[in-house]
C-alpha cells in the first residue's frame, strides 16, 4: 500500500465533522504522516453538507487527492455526494443511525460484490447508551475507523486526551465502546518520523505576528479571516488583546491610533471588509503609520461565495486607497509561509512605517498544514527606527527638536510616540511639512519625494528577502507561476512533469531581479490561478513578463493536481 491516504469525513453542519477530521489527522500525524486538510463548508449553521478531506502521506502534499480511500459518512448525503470519488478498494464507513437506505442495510455487510465495501455502525445509539450528547457520536465514528485501520487504543486515547478539553471521560467511554465492537480490517503502517505541528494558515498567521510583537488585534467578523480573531481571543497565553469594533472602518482607524501610540497592532478581514478600510489604508500611507493588514480572499465580487475561494483580490490590494503611497503586498501559500511572512510583514510595517498587506485566500486561511517548528526560532521582532534610541539618536535627536516627518535620504523618518518627554508628535492625513503642519504650497513635492525614496528603499529590501520561491525541476525551460493555495497543487504538477514552478510571495514592491533570475532559461510560461481574469498574469505583464497561457479555475474550489496537468498538456 502506498503511504498516501485520502480520507473524507462529512455530515451536516452541527454534526462535528470538522473536529472529527482534525482528530483523524492528528492520529496520522502522530504515527509520522504529513498532513493536509481541505475544509469545505457552507454558509449555514445547521443542515447542509460540510466535509473535511484529509491527505495523510509520507511525503508532504498540499493539495487533496481526487480519489478517496476512506469515506466517513455522518449522514447519507455524504455517501451520495462522494461515493463516485471512491478508490477501487475504497471503504465507506457510515453512521447506521442516519443512513437508512436499503443499499447500506443491514449495516455490516462485508465484503460486498457490487460497489465499495461498507461498514455501518450505530454511532448515535452508542453515544446515547453511554450517556453522551448527539454530537459525541462522531467520537464513536473516529474510534470505529481507528479500529478498522489497526490503530492501538492507547494511541487513539492519547490523541483524544490532547485534543478534547470538554467531557473527555465521557468521550473516551463512547470511543472505547465503539472501538470494542468494531472489526479490524487492515493495518496502516507507522512512519518513523516525528509528529509535526499542525496549523491552519490563520493560526500560523496569528502566531507569526505574535512572535514579531503583536499586542492588539482589531477585527470585525468576516469569513475566512474570522478564525484569526477567535484564535487570538481563545489563546490568552499569547497576550494579544482582541478588540471587536463596530465596523471595519473603525477597525482600521483604531489600529492606526494604537500604532501612532507605539503599540504593534494588526487588522484582519476579507475583501468586502478591506474595501471599507481603504480610506484608512490611504491615511496610513500619508501619515506613515505602521499597519499590518491581513486580507483573506473569498469568492467575489461583493458577498460572492463567503465560504469558498477565489484569488480575485490581488489587483485590488495592489491599488487600493486613493493617492500614491508605498505598501508591501505579501501572499504566502501555506501555514509555514504564513508563520514566517506574517512576522516579516509586521516587522516591515514598523521598519518602513507603511501599510503591509498579507494576502491570504480561503484555503490558505482555513486548511490545515504540517509545519516545521524550526521556523519559529528564526522569527523575532525587529526594532523600528526610533528617535531616541540606537544609532538614529545621535543623528536625529541630539540637541534638536523632533520632526515627525524629517526629510531623510532613505525616506524613513525616526519614530517617536506621544508621552515621550520634550517631544511633540504630529501625525496627519493632510500633506505636511517636517513637523506635520499642513501645507499646500509647491513645497509639498519634498514630502512626496521623501515617500518615493522610501519606496526605493523598500524595493531594495525586497530583493534581499525570499520574495520568490522556485520548486520542481529548476532547469526546465517550461515554468508555471502559481501563488497562494494554488502553489500546493502546482508544486505536485511541477514534480510530476519535471517542470519549474515559480511562486511569487512578495508581490509589491515587485522583486524584479529575483523574478528575472527565476525566469532564466524559461521558454514557455503559464500562470495557474483561481480567478476569471488571470490577475497574477496581469501583474507579470505590467513588469514586461508575458505568459504563454493561463490555467484558470473559478468554481470556488482549489485545483486538483490532475486538473492542472490535463489543462497544461493541452496548451503545451
Amino acid at each position: 500500500m502506498s503511504k498516501d491516504f485520502s480520507i473524507l469525513i462529512g455530515g451536516e453542519a452541527g454534526q462535528g465533522s470538522r473536529m472529527a477530521g482534525l482528530i483523524i489527522a492528528k492520529i496520522f500525524n502522530f504515527i509520522g504522516y504529513k498532513i493536509y486538510i481541505y475544509e469545505d463548508y457552507q454558509s449555514l449553521i445547521r443542515g447542509g453538507h460540510n466535509f473535511s478531506q484529509i491527505r495523510a502521506a509520507e511525503k508532504e502534499f498540499q493539495s487533496r487527492k481526487e480519489k478517496i480511500d476512506f469515506l466517513l459518512a455522518l449522514d447519507e448525503k455524504t455517501i451520495n455526494l462522494h461515493k463516485k470519488d471512491l478508490e477501487k478498494n475504497g471503504l465507506i464507513i457510515f453512521n447506521a443511525n442516519k443512513v437508512k437506505s436499503k443499499d447500506y442495510n443491514p449495516p455490516t455487510t462485508l465484503p460486498v460484490k457490487d460497489g465499495a465495501p461498507r461498514m455501518g455502525i450505530e454511532i448515535e445509539k452508542i453515544a446515547k447508551e453511554m450517556g453522551g450528547k448527539p454530537i459525541m457520536a462522531n467520537m464513536a465514528l473516529i474510534a470505529d475507523f481507528a479500529k478498522i485501520i489497526g490503530l492501538d487504543w492507547e494511541i487513539l486515547e492519547g490523541v483524544l486526551r490532547r485534543e478534547i478539553k470538554k467531557e473527555i471521560d465521557l468521550n473516551l467511554k463512547i470511543g472505547k465502546r465503539a472501538y470494542e465492537i468494531s472489526k479490524n480490517l487492515l493495518k496502516i503502517e507507522k512512519i518513523s518520523k516525528e509528529p509535526t505541528l499542525l496549523l491552519t494558515g490563520n493560526e500560523a498567521t496569528a502566531l507569526g505576528a505574535v512572535k514579531a510583537g503583536l499586542k492588539f488585534y482589531f477585527a470585525y467578523p468576516m469569513t475566512p479571516a474570522t478564525s484569526i480573531m477567535n484564535f487570538l481571543a481563545k489563546r490568552e497565553d499569547l497576550n494579544v488583546k482582541v478588540i471587536q469594533p463596530e465596523n471595519e472602518i473603525s477597525v482600521i482607524n483604531m489600529a492606526l491610533g494604537a500604532s501612532f501610540a507605539g503599540v504593534r497592532s494588526a487588522v484582519g478581514t476579507s475583501g468586502g471588509g478591506f474595501a471599507l478600510m481603504t480610506e484608512g489604508l490611504s491615511l496610513a500611507g500619508q501619515s506613515e503609520t505602521p499597519i499590518f493588514i491581513i486580507e483573506s480572499q473569498r469568492g467575489g465580487p461583493s458577498t460572492g461565495m463567503p465560504t469558498y475561494n477565489l484569488q480575485g483580490d490581488l489587483l485590488f490590494v495592489l491599488s487600493a486607497g486613493h493617492g500614491d503611497f508605498p505598501r508591501f503586498v505579501i501572499a504566502p501559500g501555506d501555514a509555514e509561509q504564513c508563520l514566517y511572512y506574517s512576522a516579516l510583514g509586521l516587522n516591515l510595517a514598523w521598519k518602513y512605517q507603511t501599510p503591509v498587506i498579507l494576502l491570504l485566500d480561503k484555503d490558505v486561511s482555513e486548511n490545515t498544514f504540517s509545519v516545521d517548528e524550526k521556523i519559529l526560532s528564526s522569527i523575532k521582532p525587529e526594532n523600528a527606527l526610533l528617535w531616541d534610541k540606537g544609532p538614529a539618536f545621535a543623528k536625529a535627536s541630539a540637541g534638536k527638536e523632533y520632526k515627525r516627518y524629517k526629510i531623510t535620504e532613505d525616506g524613513i523618518s525616526p519614530l517617536a510616540f506621544p508621552g515621550s518627554k520634550n517631544v511633540i508628535v504630529k501625525s496627519t492625513s493632510y500633506e505636511h511639512d517636517e513637523y506635520g503642519i499642513t501645507i499646500e504650497s509647491e513645497e509639498v513635492e519634498k514630502m512626496q519625494e521623501k515617500r518615493l525614496r522610501k519606496y526605493e528603499t523598500m524595493s531594495k529590501e525586497v530583493e534581499k528577502l525570499e520574495a520568490i520561491k522556485v520548486y520542481g525541476n529548476k532547469k526546465s525551460d517550461i515554468a508555471i507561476v502559481a501563488w497562494g493555495i494554488t502553489k500546493g497543487a502546482a508544486k505536485e504538477v511541477a514534480e510530476n512533469l519535471g517542470i519549474k514552478l515559480i511562486q511569487p510571495i512578495i508581490v509589491e514592491p515587485f522583486p524584479k531581479d529575483k523574478m528575472k533570475k527565476a525566469l532564466n532559461g524559461v521558454k514557455k510560461l503559464f500562470s495557474v490561478e483561481l480567478n476569471t481574469s488571470g490577475q497574477m498574469a496581469k501583474v507579470l505583464n505590467s513588469q514586461g513578463i508575458k505568459v504563454d497561457g493561463k490555467i484558470l479555475k473559478y468554481t470556488g474550489r482549489p485545483f486538483f493536481t490532475k486538473e492542472i496537468e490535463e489543462k497544461l498538456k493541452k496548451i503545451l
Partner: protein, 264 residues
C-alpha cells in the same frame, strides 16, 4: 516649535471673528491649568476629524493625529487602548461626527471609553461652503438645499445619553470661561465625556443672537431623569421660544472600556 508653547507657527485661516478662536482659547486655558496641576504636557494627545474645527490640529502644539472625516473617535480609542496614561481628546465637527461618523460616536459612548469628545457644532458643513448637517434646523437654506432642508434636526445629547455616555455637557463658544470649566470637567471625568459646543458659523449660519437670547446656565448635578428633561428642553429647531440650557447635564461613574480590556 517651542515644546513649552501651546501655539504653533502655522498661520490661522479660520474666518476672522470665527468662534473657533474662542474654543481654541478655552482649550489652551484648560490645558494650561491641567499642566500647572501636574499633568505632564507630553501626556496630552488629541485627534480631529476633517472640517473647519479640525484646523485646530495646526494651531495647537500638542501631540495629535489629524485623522479622517468622521473617524477620529476610532483613532482616539486606539490611542487610549495602547497607552492609557495619555489624556485623549477628540475634536470633531457636527457633520463629521453626527453625519459621517455617527456609528463611532454611539459605540464609543456605549463602551464608556475614557476619552473626551469636543464637538464644534456650527450646524452646517461650512468648509464645503454650507450644506445641512444632522443638527441643522429644518428649513436650513444651504447650498444643496436652496429651498430649505426637509429633514428634522437631531438632538445629539439625547443620542449620547441613550448610548451610554457617562458625562454629557453643552457649552457656548463665546462663554470662554464657562467653556474652559466644562473642558476641565470633561477631561477630568473618568469615562466617555461628551461636550457639545454651540458654535455660531458667522459666515453661513450666524445664530449668535438666537443663542444669546435663549442660553442659560444649568445648576448641576442632575439626576438621569432631570437630565433627560433638560436635554429635551431644546430640540435644535429654529424659531421656538424654548430656552437652551448649557452646563453639565449628566455625570456618572462606570468602569471604563480600557480598564476592562486591560485588567489582566
Amino acid at each position: 516649535m517651542n515644546p513649552k508653547n501651546l501655539d504653533t507657527y502655522c498661520q490661522n485661516t479660520w474666518c476672522p471673528g470665527c468662534p473657533n478662536f474662542a474654543i481654541l482659547e478655552s482649550v489652551k486655558r484648560a490645558i494650561s491649568e491641567l499642566i500647572e496641576k501636574g499633568i505632564p504636557r507630553e501626556n496630552f494627545v488629541f485627534t480631529c476629524g476633517i472640517g473647519c474645527h479640525a484646523k485646530i490640529f495646526d494651531y495647537l502644539n500638542l501631540n495629535s493625529f489629524y485623522g479622517l472625516h468622521g473617524r477620529c473617535l476610532a483613532t482616539a480609542q486606539g490611542i487610549k487602548l495602547a497607552n492609557p496614561n495619555l489624556k485623549v481628546m477628540a475634536f470633531v465637527g457636527d457633520g463629521d461626527t453626527y453625519n459621517e461618523g455617527i456609528s463611532h460616536l454611539i459605540h464609543a459612548a456605549k463602551r464608556n471609553t475614557n476619552i473626551t469628545v469636543l464637538v464644534h457644532d456650527n450646524r452646517n458643513f461650512a468648509l464645503t461652503v454650507s450644506q445641512f448637517t444632522a443638527t441643522s434646523p429644518k428649513g436650513f437654506k444651504g447650498s444643496s438645499t436652496p429651498n430649505g432642508s426637509i429633514e428634522e434636526s437631531l438632538n445629539p445629547l439625547e443620542l449620547v445619553l441613550s448610548s451610554g455616555a457617562t458625562f454629557i455637557a453643552r457649552g457656548y463658544a463665546w462663554k470662554i470661561d464657562h467653556l474652559k470649566n466644562l473642558i476641565l470637567k470633561a477631561i477630568e471625568h473618568k469615562g466617555f465625556s461628551f461636550l457639545e459646543i454651540l458654535q455660531p458659523c458667522i459666515t453661513f449660519f450666524d445664530n449668535r443672537q438666537f443663542y444669546e437670547e435663549r442660553i442659560y446656565e444649568l445648576k448641576s448635578p442632575l439626576s438621569k431623569e432631570e437630565a433627560k428633561i433638560k436635554i429635551s428642553e431644546w430640540d435644535y429647531s429654529d424659531g421656538e421660544k424654548s430656552k437652551i440650557p448649557i452646563g453639565v447635564f449628566y455625570k456618572v461613574e462606570k468602569p471604563t472600556f480600557e480598564d476592562l480590556v486591560l485588567k489582566n
